[in-house]
């Protein structure tokens, strides 16, 4: 019962930030500056997420110890740049990561 309440509340917490800003801005004329600003959001967010995943541990300490992930990340960038294929980037990235964590 408690678990069900948790799941439902989690659903609400997940839904509010997804829905209201999107609704608000889809029904108004968005000023140019806002669009320009939003153009910088994805690239910032994704880099922020990547850095968190590679350089910040689960206990929130900064670490450069994840050598396998760092090498794989650089190679994934090279793969993405030259192939422009998301599938190849993800699949080869996983293989690289697997190989490096296994053999390093």
């Amino acid at each position: 019962m408690n678990d069900l309440a948790l799941v439902l509340l989690a659903g609400v917490a997940a839904f509010i930030p997804r829905y209201f800003p999107m609704l608000f801005f889809s029904k108004r004329k968005i000023p140019d500056w806002f669009n320009e600003w939003m153009g910088f959001v994805p690239v910032s967010l994704f880099t922020a997420l990547i850095v968190k995943q590679i350089f910040v541990t689960s206990t929130y300490a900064f670490s450069v110890g994840n050598i396998a992930a760092m090498i794989s990340a650089v190679l994934v960038i090279v793969i993405a740049y030259f192939t422009r294929s998301m599938t190849l980037s993800v699949v080869l990235g996983l293989l690289l990561m697997w190989a490096l964590t296994t053999f390093l």
Partner: protein
């Protein structure tokens, strides 16, 4: 909604890498949620209504340390706050969509399908909101299915989280690489990364990601404005060279030209008013 058979297949092809990368992560997430005490039905429900890898891993972790519900929900809310930014940045592609559509679209939005859809909206002018919703749904069903299977297999499956987690990192790396079109964007990305590390460690919370995103995107945006008005020839505005002239780049050029044309027309209109 009328859909040609070719369309769902074409969209499926675009969603496929995303769906594939969800399978191992979904399995792992299902295993962890099961270990945290959720039964299979609840795992299915949480995958459908929360639908976010980060959030579900957080729930699993906090369930195993017996955190109170209120605390889990508050943490979750902060973690999900970034969707306010994502939703806003997609919203101008959804101007013609109905309230009901936006409700459904927002409901199934998450980082990864946002990334796919943002890239498609930005580079493919024939990309429609219903295609975008379809991508969300393909990924959603794969995700929920993988979670359920994970919770059924439970503890009999050993999954190396370090490797599985990297699927998402690789996906984001791909997205960033595809989006860095100008030197200024590259600088913004580097700034975002540095700020993210700093604020995540300083605040001991993933809220650091939200703050880093806000600060870096604002800095990039302001720098873009200032440089364009003060020094339009600055090398910061140079494009980053791609490996080859692909179709995507051409398509994008057309889009930019269209936008410039529109801007000019709007300027003309302003002049008329004056």
């Amino acid at each position: 909604m009328k859909k040609e058979p070719a369309n769902w297949l074409a969209v499926l092809k675009i969603a496929m890498p995303l769906c594939l990368s969800y399978i191992p992560i979904g399995l792992a997430c299902g295993v962890l949620l099961h270990a945290g005490g959720l039964n299979t039905w609840l795992v299915a429900l949480v995958s459908l209504i929360v639908y976010s890898g980060g959030a579900q891993f957080l729930i699993a972790t906090m369930l195993t340390i017996h955190a109170p519900i209120s605390q889990i929900v508050i943490m979750l809310f902060f973690l999900e706050l970034r969707y306010a930014l994502l939703g806003s940045s997609l919203s101008h592609y959804l101007k013609k969509s109905s309230h009901k559509f936006i409700l459904g679209f927002a409901f199934s939005l998450n980082d990864e399908n946002y990334a796919v859809n943002y890239l498609k909206f930005a580079t493919d002018k024939y990309w429609t909101p219903s295609n975008a919703l379809l991508v969300e749904h393909y990924a959603l069903y794969t995700w929920a299915f993988s979670n359920v299977v994970g919770s059924l297999i439970g503890s009999s499956l050993h999954i190396n989280l370090v490797i599985v987690d990297f699927a998402l990192t690789a996906l984001f790396l791909f997205m960033v690489t595809m989006q860095v079109k100008r030197r200024l964007t590259l600088l913004t990305a580097i700034l975002a990364g540095a700020l993210s590390a700093f604020f995540c460690v300083a605040l001991k919370s993933t809220l650091g990601i939200v703050i880093a995103t806000l600060l870096a995107s604002t800095a990039g945006f302001l720098a873009d404005r200032v440089i364009r008005s003060m020094a339009p020839g600055s090398s910061l505005l140079y494009k980053v060279r791609g490996p080859s002239g692909t179709r995507e780049t051409i398509n994008e050029q057309e889009l930019t030209e269209e936008r410039l044309l529109k801007e000019e027309q709007e300027k003309d209109k302003d002049h008329d008013h004056e």
